[in-house]
Protein backbone atom coordinates (compact mmCIF):
# COMPACT_ATOMS: atom_id res chain seq x y z
CA UNK A 1 0.00 0.00 0.00
CA UNK A 2 1.21 3.49 -0.78
CA UNK A 3 1.95 5.56 2.32
CA UNK A 4 1.85 8.79 0.33
CA UNK A 5 -0.07 9.33 -2.90
CA UNK A 6 0.15 12.71 -4.59
CA UNK A 7 -1.73 13.61 -7.73
CA UNK A 8 -1.39 16.84 -9.73
CA UNK A 9 -0.61 18.71 -6.52
CA UNK A 10 -0.32 22.46 -6.88
CA UNK A 11 0.20 25.43 -4.59
CA UNK A 12 -0.07 28.92 -5.90
CA UNK A 13 0.57 31.84 -3.58
CA UNK A 14 -0.95 35.28 -3.76
CA UNK A 15 0.69 37.18 -6.57
CA UNK A 16 0.55 34.16 -8.85
CA UNK A 17 3.75 32.48 -7.69
CA UNK A 18 3.29 28.76 -8.28
CA UNK A 19 5.66 27.08 -5.83
CA UNK A 20 4.43 23.57 -6.58
CA UNK A 21 3.21 22.92 -10.09
CA UNK A 22 1.37 19.66 -10.67
CA UNK A 23 3.39 17.07 -8.77
CA UNK A 24 2.55 13.37 -8.97
CA UNK A 25 4.36 10.91 -6.75
CA UNK A 26 3.84 7.76 -4.73
CA UNK A 27 5.78 6.60 -1.69
CA UNK A 28 5.48 2.99 -0.63
CA UNK A 29 5.07 2.04 3.01
CA UNK A 30 8.41 1.40 4.68
CA UNK A 31 10.62 3.17 2.17
CA UNK A 32 12.78 6.27 2.51
CA UNK A 33 11.75 8.67 -0.22
CA UNK A 34 14.21 11.43 -0.96
CA UNK A 35 12.86 14.68 -2.31
CA UNK A 36 15.86 16.37 -3.86
CA UNK A 37 16.07 19.87 -5.16
CA UNK A 38 17.74 23.23 -4.73
CA UNK A 39 16.49 25.95 -2.40
CA UNK A 40 13.28 27.42 -3.73
CA UNK A 41 12.39 24.35 -5.79
CA UNK A 42 9.17 23.68 -3.87
CA UNK A 43 10.31 20.99 -1.44
CA UNK A 44 9.17 22.70 1.75
CA UNK A 45 5.90 23.87 0.20
CA UNK A 46 5.18 20.26 -0.81
CA UNK A 47 5.98 19.00 2.68
CA UNK A 48 3.81 21.68 4.30
CA UNK A 49 0.89 20.54 2.15
CA UNK A 50 1.49 16.88 2.97
CA UNK A 51 1.59 17.57 6.72
CA UNK A 52 -1.62 19.67 6.52
CA UNK A 53 0.05 23.01 7.31
CA UNK A 54 -0.78 24.42 3.90
CA UNK A 55 -3.82 23.90 1.73
CA UNK A 56 -3.21 22.75 -1.86
CA UNK A 57 -4.69 25.06 -4.49
CA UNK A 58 -5.22 22.11 -6.86
CA UNK A 59 -4.69 18.37 -7.01
CA UNK A 60 -4.87 15.93 -4.15
CA UNK A 61 -2.67 14.11 -1.69
CA UNK A 62 -3.29 11.18 0.62
CA UNK A 63 -1.00 10.40 3.53
CA UNK A 64 -1.35 7.14 5.47
CA UNK A 65 -4.57 6.58 3.54
CA UNK A 66 -6.22 9.92 4.37
CA UNK A 67 -6.78 13.00 2.27
CA UNK A 68 -4.74 15.96 3.51
CA UNK A 69 -7.44 18.47 2.55
CA UNK A 70 -10.58 16.70 3.75
CA UNK A 71 -9.24 14.49 6.55
CA UNK A 72 -6.39 16.55 8.05
CA UNK A 73 -7.02 15.41 11.63
CA UNK A 74 -6.63 11.74 10.61
CA UNK A 75 -3.42 12.59 8.78
CA UNK A 76 -2.00 14.46 11.80
CA UNK A 77 -2.56 11.46 14.07
CA UNK A 78 -0.44 9.26 11.80
CA UNK A 79 2.48 11.45 10.89
CA UNK A 80 5.59 12.75 12.57
CA UNK A 81 6.98 16.08 11.42
CA UNK A 82 10.39 17.68 11.79
CA UNK A 83 10.27 20.92 9.86
CA UNK A 84 13.19 22.74 8.28
CA UNK A 85 13.81 25.05 11.22
CA UNK A 86 13.64 22.96 14.38
CA UNK A 87 10.95 25.10 16.02
CA UNK A 88 11.62 24.35 19.66
CA UNK A 89 10.81 26.47 22.67
CA UNK A 90 14.18 27.66 24.02
CA UNK A 91 12.77 28.14 27.52
CA UNK A 92 11.79 24.48 27.88
CA UNK A 93 14.08 21.54 28.59
CA UNK A 94 14.42 18.67 26.16
CA UNK A 95 12.43 16.38 28.44
CA UNK A 96 9.66 18.92 28.93
CA UNK A 97 9.29 19.28 25.17
CA UNK A 98 9.12 15.52 24.72
CA UNK A 99 6.42 15.37 27.41
CA UNK A 100 4.46 18.22 25.81
CA UNK A 101 4.65 16.55 22.40
CA UNK A 102 3.36 13.34 23.95
CA UNK A 103 0.48 15.25 25.53
CA UNK A 104 -0.37 16.81 22.17
CA UNK A 105 -0.57 13.31 20.72
CA UNK A 106 -2.81 12.09 23.53
CA UNK A 107 -0.26 9.82 25.17
CA UNK A 108 -0.91 9.38 28.88
CA UNK A 109 1.81 10.90 31.13
CA UNK A 110 2.50 7.61 32.91
CA UNK A 111 3.28 5.82 29.65
CA UNK A 112 5.36 8.62 28.16
CA UNK A 113 8.23 8.41 30.62
CA UNK A 114 9.75 5.20 29.25
CA UNK A 115 9.17 6.16 25.63
CA UNK A 116 10.62 9.61 26.29
CA UNK A 117 13.70 8.16 27.94
CA UNK A 118 14.14 5.69 25.10
CA UNK A 119 13.95 8.40 22.45
CA UNK A 120 16.14 10.85 24.35
CA UNK A 121 18.75 8.10 24.70
CA UNK A 122 18.37 7.07 21.10
CA UNK A 123 19.19 10.55 19.80
CA UNK A 124 22.05 10.91 22.28
CA UNK A 125 20.55 13.61 24.48
CA UNK A 126 20.34 11.78 27.82
CA UNK A 127 22.85 14.09 29.48
CA UNK A 128 21.24 17.23 28.08
CA UNK A 129 17.61 16.26 28.66
CA UNK A 130 17.19 18.49 31.72
CA UNK A 131 18.86 21.49 30.10
CA UNK A 132 16.91 24.27 28.44
CA UNK A 133 16.79 23.94 24.66
CA UNK A 134 18.16 27.47 24.35
CA UNK A 135 21.54 26.04 25.34
CA UNK A 136 21.49 23.29 22.67
CA UNK A 137 23.62 23.30 19.52
CA UNK A 138 21.98 23.11 16.09
CA UNK A 139 22.64 19.38 15.89
CA UNK A 140 21.16 18.74 19.33
CA UNK A 141 18.04 20.70 18.38
CA UNK A 142 17.60 18.64 15.21
CA UNK A 143 18.00 15.41 17.14
CA UNK A 144 15.49 16.53 19.76
CA UNK A 145 13.12 17.56 16.98
CA UNK A 146 13.44 14.07 15.51
CA UNK A 147 12.81 12.45 18.90
CA UNK A 148 9.68 14.58 19.31
CA UNK A 149 8.45 13.60 15.87
CA UNK A 150 8.77 9.94 16.84
CA UNK A 151 7.08 10.05 20.25
CA UNK A 152 3.78 8.60 18.99
CA UNK A 153 5.36 6.03 16.65
CA UNK A 154 4.15 7.67 13.43
CA UNK A 155 3.42 5.65 10.31
CA UNK A 156 4.95 8.32 8.11
CA UNK A 157 7.78 10.62 9.14
CA UNK A 158 8.44 13.88 7.32
CA UNK A 159 11.94 15.30 7.64
CA UNK A 160 12.37 18.65 5.93
CA UNK A 161 16.07 19.22 5.25
CA UNK A 162 17.03 17.60 8.55
CA UNK A 163 20.77 18.10 8.15
CA UNK A 164 20.96 21.56 6.60
CA UNK A 165 23.54 23.59 8.47
CA UNK A 166 24.76 20.66 10.59
CA UNK A 167 28.36 19.66 11.13
CA UNK A 168 29.48 16.35 9.54
CA UNK A 169 29.26 14.40 12.79
CA UNK A 170 25.71 15.50 13.55
CA UNK A 171 24.79 14.79 9.94
CA UNK A 172 26.09 11.23 10.16
CA UNK A 173 24.22 10.68 13.44
CA UNK A 174 20.97 11.74 11.81
CA UNK A 175 21.67 9.54 8.79
CA UNK A 176 22.13 6.58 11.11
CA UNK A 177 18.82 7.31 12.75
CA UNK A 178 17.02 7.53 9.39
CA UNK A 179 18.48 4.16 8.40
CA UNK A 180 17.36 2.69 11.70
CA UNK A 181 13.84 4.02 11.15
CA UNK A 182 13.75 2.42 7.71
CA UNK A 183 14.86 -0.86 9.24
CA UNK A 184 12.00 -0.56 11.70
CA UNK A 185 9.53 -0.10 8.86
CA UNK A 186 8.79 3.62 9.19
CA UNK A 187 8.03 5.41 5.95
CA UNK A 188 10.29 8.46 5.69
CA UNK A 189 9.74 11.41 3.36
CA UNK A 190 13.01 13.30 3.41
CA UNK A 191 13.69 16.54 1.63
CA UNK A 192 17.26 17.51 0.99
CA UNK A 193 19.44 19.68 -1.18
CA UNK A 194 22.43 17.46 -0.58
CA UNK A 195 23.25 14.95 -3.32
CA UNK A 196 25.21 12.69 -1.02
CA UNK A 197 22.39 12.59 1.51
CA UNK A 198 19.89 11.59 -1.14
CA UNK A 199 22.27 9.01 -2.53
CA UNK A 200 23.05 7.54 0.87
CA UNK A 201 19.58 7.43 2.38
CA UNK A 202 16.87 7.29 -0.25
CA UNK A 203 15.41 4.04 -1.53
CA UNK A 204 13.74 6.12 -4.21
CA UNK A 205 14.11 9.73 -5.21
CA UNK A 206 12.04 12.49 -6.67
CA UNK A 207 13.91 15.42 -8.16
CA UNK A 208 12.08 18.72 -8.02
CA UNK A 209 12.99 21.90 -9.84
CA UNK A 210 10.93 25.07 -10.17
CA UNK A 211 7.93 23.34 -8.61
CA UNK A 212 7.87 20.42 -11.02
CA UNK A 213 8.95 16.83 -10.47
CA UNK A 214 11.51 16.35 -13.21
CA UNK A 215 12.67 12.80 -12.43
CA UNK A 216 11.86 9.89 -10.17
CA UNK A 217 13.24 6.44 -9.40
CA UNK A 218 15.95 4.71 -7.44
CA UNK A 219 19.26 6.58 -7.29
CA UNK A 220 20.91 3.78 -9.25
CA UNK A 221 18.24 3.80 -11.95
CA UNK A 222 18.36 7.56 -12.28
CA UNK A 223 22.11 7.53 -12.68
CA UNK A 224 21.93 4.67 -15.16
CA UNK A 225 19.42 6.69 -17.13
CA UNK A 226 22.01 9.43 -17.56
CA UNK A 227 24.36 6.65 -18.46
CA UNK A 228 27.57 8.00 -19.81
CA UNK A 229 30.61 8.75 -17.69
CA UNK A 230 32.17 12.11 -18.28
CA UNK A 231 35.71 13.25 -18.65
CA UNK A 232 36.82 16.35 -16.79
CA UNK A 233 39.87 18.03 -18.24
CA UNK A 234 41.91 20.94 -17.02
CA UNK A 235 43.88 22.51 -19.86
CA UNK A 236 47.20 24.22 -19.37
CA UNK A 237 47.04 27.96 -18.68
CA UNK A 238 46.37 30.16 -21.68
CA UNK A 239 44.58 27.51 -23.75
CA UNK A 240 41.89 28.67 -26.16
CA UNK A 241 38.93 26.91 -24.57
CA UNK A 242 36.59 27.54 -27.49
CA UNK A 243 39.03 25.92 -29.90
CA UNK A 244 39.58 22.98 -27.53
CA UNK A 245 35.83 22.47 -27.32
CA UNK A 246 35.64 22.22 -31.09
CA UNK A 247 38.37 19.57 -31.05
CA UNK A 248 36.53 17.32 -28.60
CA UNK A 249 33.02 18.01 -29.93
CA UNK A 250 32.86 14.74 -31.87
CA UNK A 251 33.46 12.62 -28.74
CA UNK A 252 30.30 13.56 -26.89
CA UNK A 253 28.23 16.36 -25.39
CA UNK A 254 30.09 19.31 -23.95
CA UNK A 255 29.03 20.10 -20.43
CA UNK A 256 29.05 23.44 -18.65
CA UNK A 257 32.56 24.32 -17.51
CA UNK A 258 33.16 25.57 -14.00
CA UNK A 259 36.02 27.87 -14.91
CA UNK A 260 38.10 29.23 -17.78
CA UNK A 261 40.35 26.22 -18.44
CA UNK A 262 38.03 23.41 -17.36
CA UNK A 263 36.46 21.24 -20.03
CA UNK A 264 33.94 18.50 -19.35
CA UNK A 265 32.68 15.96 -21.93
CA UNK A 266 30.00 13.27 -21.54
CA UNK A 267 31.75 10.50 -23.46
CA UNK A 268 29.60 8.90 -26.14
CA UNK A 269 31.33 5.52 -25.89
CA UNK A 270 32.60 5.55 -22.34
CA UNK A 271 36.14 5.20 -20.97
CA UNK A 272 37.47 3.77 -24.22
CA UNK A 273 37.41 7.27 -25.63
CA UNK A 274 39.84 8.79 -23.12
CA UNK A 275 42.91 8.04 -25.23
CA UNK A 276 41.41 9.33 -28.51
CA UNK A 277 40.31 12.55 -26.77
CA UNK A 278 43.79 13.14 -25.39
CA UNK A 279 45.37 12.35 -28.77
CA UNK A 280 43.06 14.77 -30.54
CA UNK A 281 43.85 17.53 -28.07
CA UNK A 282 47.57 16.80 -28.31
CA UNK A 283 47.44 16.85 -32.11
CA UNK A 284 45.71 20.25 -31.94
CA UNK A 285 48.44 21.56 -29.65
CA UNK A 286 46.58 21.59 -26.35
CA UNK A 287 48.37 20.50 -23.20
CA UNK A 288 46.23 18.73 -20.60
CA UNK A 289 47.20 19.55 -17.02
CA UNK A 290 44.71 17.27 -15.23
CA UNK A 291 42.08 14.74 -16.17
CA UNK A 292 39.47 12.75 -14.28
CA UNK A 293 36.90 10.21 -15.44
CA UNK A 294 33.70 10.57 -13.44
CA UNK A 295 30.81 8.16 -13.19
CA UNK A 296 27.31 9.70 -13.34
CA UNK A 297 26.10 11.30 -10.12
CA UNK A 298 22.74 12.61 -9.03
CA UNK A 299 24.02 16.04 -9.97
CA UNK A 300 24.42 14.70 -13.52
CA UNK A 301 20.85 13.50 -13.35
CA UNK A 302 19.79 16.93 -12.18
CA UNK A 303 21.84 18.58 -14.90
CA UNK A 304 20.39 16.26 -17.53
CA UNK A 305 16.83 17.03 -16.45
CA UNK A 306 17.07 20.74 -15.76
CA UNK A 307 20.14 21.99 -17.62
CA UNK A 308 21.59 23.32 -14.35
CA UNK A 309 23.72 21.98 -11.55
CA UNK A 310 21.88 21.38 -8.29
CA UNK A 311 24.10 23.89 -6.52
CA UNK A 312 22.91 26.57 -8.95
CA UNK A 313 19.45 27.24 -7.56
CA UNK A 314 19.27 29.27 -4.39
CA UNK A 315 16.07 31.24 -4.72
CA UNK A 316 14.13 31.12 -1.47
CA UNK A 317 10.72 29.53 -1.60
CA UNK A 318 7.88 32.07 -1.46
CA UNK A 319 6.19 32.52 1.90
CA UNK A 320 2.42 32.35 1.96
CA UNK A 321 0.95 35.84 1.87
CA UNK A 322 0.33 37.06 5.41
CA UNK A 323 2.48 34.39 7.02
CA UNK A 324 2.18 30.63 7.19
CA UNK A 325 -1.24 29.25 6.48
CA UNK A 326 -2.68 25.99 7.63
CA UNK A 327 -5.52 23.57 7.24
CA UNK A 328 -8.25 23.38 9.84
Amino acid sequence: MAAIEVSALEREFKGGVRAVDGIDLEVQAGEVYGFLGPNGAGKTTTVRMLVTLLRPTAGSARVAGFDVATEPAQVRRRIGVALQEAALDPLMTGRELIQLQATLHGIAPRSVADRGDELIGRVGLSRAAERRVGTYSGGMRRRLDLAMALIHRPEVLFLDEPTTGLDPTSRLTLWEEVRRLRDEGTTVFLTTQYLEEADQLADRLGIIAAGKLVAGGTPAALKAEVGRPHLDLVLADGADLAAAREVVASFGDRRPASDGCHLSIALEHGAAEIAPVLRALDDAGFAVAELELKQPTLDDVFLEKTGEHLEGGDEPEPEPAGGPAVLG
Binding site: L53, R76, E96, G106, P324, L327
Partner: protein, 255 residues
Protein backbone atom coordinates in the same frame (compact mmCIF):
# COMPACT_ATOMS: atom_id res chain seq x y z
CA UNK B 1 -8.68 17.95 24.84
CA UNK B 2 -8.46 18.59 28.57
CA UNK B 3 -4.93 17.20 28.74
CA UNK B 4 -3.82 19.34 25.80
CA UNK B 5 -5.29 22.52 27.31
CA UNK B 6 -3.66 21.80 30.67
CA UNK B 7 -0.35 20.90 29.01
CA UNK B 8 -0.30 24.12 26.99
CA UNK B 9 -1.37 26.22 29.99
CA UNK B 10 1.38 24.62 32.07
CA UNK B 11 3.91 25.48 29.38
CA UNK B 12 2.73 29.11 29.23
CA UNK B 13 2.93 29.44 33.02
CA UNK B 14 6.35 27.78 33.20
CA UNK B 15 7.68 30.05 30.47
CA UNK B 16 6.29 33.13 32.21
CA UNK B 17 8.07 32.11 35.38
CA UNK B 18 11.31 31.50 33.48
CA UNK B 19 11.22 34.87 31.78
CA UNK B 20 10.83 37.43 34.56
CA UNK B 21 11.09 40.29 32.07
CA UNK B 22 7.78 38.98 30.74
CA UNK B 23 5.93 39.01 34.04
CA UNK B 24 7.57 41.92 35.86
CA UNK B 25 6.04 44.73 33.74
CA UNK B 26 2.58 43.39 34.55
CA UNK B 27 2.99 44.49 38.15
CA UNK B 28 5.84 47.02 38.10
CA UNK B 29 4.22 49.50 35.76
CA UNK B 30 0.80 49.54 37.47
CA UNK B 31 2.58 49.73 40.85
CA UNK B 32 4.48 52.84 39.78
CA UNK B 33 1.32 54.33 38.34
CA UNK B 34 -0.52 53.56 41.56
CA UNK B 35 2.23 55.17 43.65
CA UNK B 36 2.19 58.32 41.51
CA UNK B 37 -1.59 58.55 41.57
CA UNK B 38 -1.93 58.01 45.29
CA UNK B 39 1.02 60.25 46.11
CA UNK B 40 0.07 63.11 43.83
CA UNK B 41 -3.70 63.01 43.61
CA UNK B 42 -4.65 62.15 47.18
CA UNK B 43 -6.70 65.33 47.50
CA UNK B 44 -8.94 64.21 44.66
CA UNK B 45 -11.00 62.53 47.35
CA UNK B 46 -11.94 66.00 48.62
CA UNK B 47 -13.66 66.90 45.35
CA UNK B 48 -17.40 67.42 45.65
CA UNK B 49 -19.16 64.30 44.50
CA UNK B 50 -16.22 61.99 45.19
CA UNK B 51 -17.48 58.94 47.10
CA UNK B 52 -16.57 58.78 50.77
CA UNK B 53 -13.47 56.54 51.09
CA UNK B 54 -10.84 56.03 53.78
CA UNK B 55 -8.05 56.88 51.36
CA UNK B 56 -7.25 57.31 47.71
CA UNK B 57 -5.25 54.04 47.79
CA UNK B 58 -8.44 52.12 48.65
CA UNK B 59 -10.10 53.71 45.64
CA UNK B 60 -7.18 53.25 43.23
CA UNK B 61 -6.34 49.61 44.00
CA UNK B 62 -9.05 48.30 41.66
CA UNK B 63 -7.74 50.55 38.88
CA UNK B 64 -4.21 49.19 39.34
CA UNK B 65 -5.53 45.62 39.28
CA UNK B 66 -7.50 46.29 36.09
CA UNK B 67 -4.47 47.94 34.49
CA UNK B 68 -2.27 44.99 35.44
CA UNK B 69 -4.78 42.49 34.06
CA UNK B 70 -4.93 44.38 30.77
CA UNK B 71 -1.15 44.22 30.53
CA UNK B 72 -1.45 40.49 31.24
CA UNK B 73 -3.57 40.25 28.10
CA UNK B 74 -0.88 42.02 26.09
CA UNK B 75 1.72 39.58 27.49
CA UNK B 76 -0.43 36.56 26.58
CA UNK B 77 -0.75 37.92 23.05
CA UNK B 78 2.99 38.51 22.74
CA UNK B 79 3.69 34.92 23.86
CA UNK B 80 1.42 33.54 21.12
CA UNK B 81 2.89 35.93 18.53
CA UNK B 82 6.40 34.79 19.45
CA UNK B 83 5.28 31.17 18.99
CA UNK B 84 3.98 32.09 15.53
CA UNK B 85 7.16 33.95 14.61
CA UNK B 86 9.43 31.18 15.93
CA UNK B 87 7.53 28.35 14.26
CA UNK B 88 6.41 26.65 17.49
CA UNK B 89 2.84 27.44 16.55
CA UNK B 90 3.25 25.23 13.45
CA UNK B 91 4.18 22.38 15.75
CA UNK B 92 0.93 22.89 17.63
CA UNK B 93 -1.25 22.99 14.54
CA UNK B 94 0.53 20.00 13.00
CA UNK B 95 -0.49 17.97 16.06
CA UNK B 96 -3.86 16.25 16.30
CA UNK B 97 -5.26 18.37 19.16
CA UNK B 98 -8.53 20.26 18.68
CA UNK B 99 -7.72 23.77 17.45
CA UNK B 100 -9.65 25.42 20.28
CA UNK B 101 -7.24 23.82 22.77
CA UNK B 102 -4.45 26.06 21.47
CA UNK B 103 -6.48 29.16 22.37
CA UNK B 104 -7.76 27.77 25.65
CA UNK B 105 -4.28 26.78 26.87
CA UNK B 106 -3.04 30.37 26.61
CA UNK B 107 -6.26 31.81 28.01
CA UNK B 108 -6.24 29.47 31.00
CA UNK B 109 -2.67 30.49 31.79
CA UNK B 110 -3.70 34.16 31.68
CA UNK B 111 -6.44 33.34 34.21
CA UNK B 112 -3.97 31.67 36.57
CA UNK B 113 -1.53 34.58 36.28
CA UNK B 114 -4.44 36.89 37.10
CA UNK B 115 -4.72 35.23 40.52
CA UNK B 116 -1.12 36.24 41.22
CA UNK B 117 -1.70 39.77 39.93
CA UNK B 118 -4.81 40.31 42.06
CA UNK B 119 -3.14 38.80 45.13
CA UNK B 120 -0.06 41.00 44.63
CA UNK B 121 -2.05 44.24 44.56
CA UNK B 122 -4.23 43.27 47.51
CA UNK B 123 -1.16 42.46 49.60
CA UNK B 124 0.52 45.66 48.41
CA UNK B 125 -2.54 47.68 49.34
CA UNK B 126 -2.76 46.12 52.79
CA UNK B 127 0.95 46.74 53.32
CA UNK B 128 0.49 50.46 52.58
CA UNK B 129 -2.54 50.97 54.76
CA UNK B 130 -5.49 50.03 52.60
CA UNK B 131 -8.29 48.10 54.17
CA UNK B 132 -10.35 45.47 52.37
CA UNK B 133 -13.75 46.49 53.68
CA UNK B 134 -15.46 43.33 52.48
CA UNK B 135 -13.08 41.07 54.42
CA UNK B 136 -12.41 37.54 53.21
CA UNK B 137 -15.61 37.45 51.18
CA UNK B 138 -14.56 40.72 49.58
CA UNK B 139 -11.16 39.30 48.68
CA UNK B 140 -12.87 36.31 47.06
CA UNK B 141 -15.16 38.65 45.13
CA UNK B 142 -12.18 40.65 43.83
CA UNK B 143 -10.41 37.43 42.90
CA UNK B 144 -13.47 36.12 41.09
CA UNK B 145 -13.89 39.22 38.94
CA UNK B 146 -10.11 39.57 38.46
CA UNK B 147 -9.59 36.00 37.30
CA UNK B 148 -12.51 36.10 34.86
CA UNK B 149 -11.39 39.48 33.52
CA UNK B 150 -7.75 38.36 33.28
CA UNK B 151 -8.87 35.33 31.31
CA UNK B 152 -10.82 37.56 28.94
CA UNK B 153 -7.97 40.02 28.47
CA UNK B 154 -5.73 37.04 27.74
CA UNK B 155 -8.17 35.86 25.09
CA UNK B 156 -8.20 39.35 23.54
CA UNK B 157 -4.40 39.32 23.42
CA UNK B 158 -4.42 35.88 21.79
CA UNK B 159 -6.99 37.06 19.25
CA UNK B 160 -4.86 40.07 18.31
CA UNK B 161 -1.76 37.86 18.04
CA UNK B 162 -3.55 35.41 15.74
CA UNK B 163 -4.62 38.24 13.48
CA UNK B 164 -1.37 40.24 13.61
CA UNK B 165 1.00 37.21 13.59
CA UNK B 166 3.89 39.23 14.97
CA UNK B 167 4.92 40.35 18.43
CA UNK B 168 5.70 43.96 17.55
CA UNK B 169 2.12 44.60 16.43
CA UNK B 170 0.80 43.09 19.65
CA UNK B 171 3.19 45.29 21.61
CA UNK B 172 1.85 48.22 19.63
CA UNK B 173 -1.55 47.87 21.29
CA UNK B 174 0.03 48.80 24.64
CA UNK B 175 -0.90 52.52 24.37
CA UNK B 176 -4.44 51.61 23.30
CA UNK B 177 -4.81 49.70 26.56
CA UNK B 178 -4.37 52.98 28.40
CA UNK B 179 -6.75 54.91 26.22
CA UNK B 180 -9.45 52.31 26.81
CA UNK B 181 -8.76 52.30 30.53
CA UNK B 182 -8.85 56.10 30.76
CA UNK B 183 -12.27 56.24 29.13
CA UNK B 184 -13.66 54.14 31.96
CA UNK B 185 -14.42 54.90 35.58
CA UNK B 186 -11.40 52.85 36.73
CA UNK B 187 -9.37 55.85 37.92
CA UNK B 188 -12.08 58.39 38.73
CA UNK B 189 -15.78 58.13 39.57
CA UNK B 190 -18.03 58.35 36.55
CA UNK B 191 -19.90 61.36 37.96
CA UNK B 192 -16.64 63.36 37.97
CA UNK B 193 -15.74 62.58 34.36
CA UNK B 194 -16.36 65.19 31.68
CA UNK B 195 -18.43 64.63 28.58
CA UNK B 196 -18.04 62.63 26.34
CA UNK B 197 -15.75 60.44 28.50
CA UNK B 198 -18.51 59.94 31.06
CA UNK B 199 -20.83 58.60 28.33
CA UNK B 200 -18.11 56.31 26.96
CA UNK B 201 -17.33 55.09 30.46
CA UNK B 202 -20.96 54.11 30.94
CA UNK B 203 -20.62 51.63 28.07
CA UNK B 204 -17.06 50.53 28.79
CA UNK B 205 -16.96 47.07 30.41
CA UNK B 206 -13.75 48.09 32.18
CA UNK B 207 -15.82 50.52 34.28
CA UNK B 208 -17.96 47.69 35.60
CA UNK B 209 -14.98 45.38 36.09
CA UNK B 210 -13.04 48.03 38.07
CA UNK B 211 -16.08 49.13 40.08
CA UNK B 212 -17.02 45.52 40.80
CA UNK B 213 -13.61 45.03 42.38
CA UNK B 214 -13.57 48.45 44.04
CA UNK B 215 -16.83 47.93 45.89
CA UNK B 216 -15.59 45.21 48.30
CA UNK B 217 -12.18 46.90 48.66
CA UNK B 218 -13.16 50.51 49.32
CA UNK B 219 -16.79 50.26 50.50
CA UNK B 220 -18.55 47.04 51.45
CA UNK B 221 -19.78 43.82 49.96
CA UNK B 222 -22.76 44.56 47.78
CA UNK B 223 -24.33 42.18 45.30
CA UNK B 224 -25.18 44.77 42.62
CA UNK B 225 -21.70 46.06 41.68
CA UNK B 226 -20.21 42.58 42.15
CA UNK B 227 -22.69 40.97 39.78
CA UNK B 228 -22.34 43.79 37.27
CA UNK B 229 -18.55 43.46 37.39
CA UNK B 230 -18.67 39.69 37.09
CA UNK B 231 -21.18 39.87 34.25
CA UNK B 232 -19.06 42.44 32.38
CA UNK B 233 -15.95 40.30 32.86
CA UNK B 234 -17.72 37.08 31.87
CA UNK B 235 -19.40 38.67 28.85
CA UNK B 236 -16.13 40.21 27.69
CA UNK B 237 -14.36 36.87 28.23
CA UNK B 238 -16.96 34.89 26.30
CA UNK B 239 -16.80 37.33 23.38
CA UNK B 240 -12.98 37.42 23.45
CA UNK B 241 -12.67 33.62 23.47
CA UNK B 242 -15.16 33.37 20.61
CA UNK B 243 -13.22 36.01 18.65
CA UNK B 244 -9.94 34.17 19.31
CA UNK B 245 -11.34 30.87 18.11
CA UNK B 246 -12.75 32.63 15.04
CA UNK B 247 -9.37 34.24 14.40
CA UNK B 248 -7.69 30.84 14.58
CA UNK B 249 -10.29 29.19 12.34
CA UNK B 250 -10.05 32.06 9.87
CA UNK B 251 -6.31 31.64 9.77
CA UNK B 252 -6.67 27.93 9.13
CA UNK B 253 -9.39 28.42 6.52
CA UNK B 254 -7.33 30.95 4.57
CA UNK B 255 -4.47 28.48 4.20
Amino acid sequence: MKAAVLGLARRALRNSARKPQFLAPLVIFPTLFLALNVGGLERTTELPGFPRVDGFLDFQLAAAITQSLLLGGVAAGIAVALDIEGGFFDRLIASPIPRVAIVLGSVLAAGVIAVVQVAYFLVLGLAFGAEIKGGVVGVLAVLAIGVVAGTGFGALGVMIALRARNASTVQGIFPIVFVVLFVSSAFFPENLLSSPVDSLAAYNPLSYIAEGMRQPIAFANEAGPFLEGLAAAAGMTAVAIALSVMALRGRLRDA
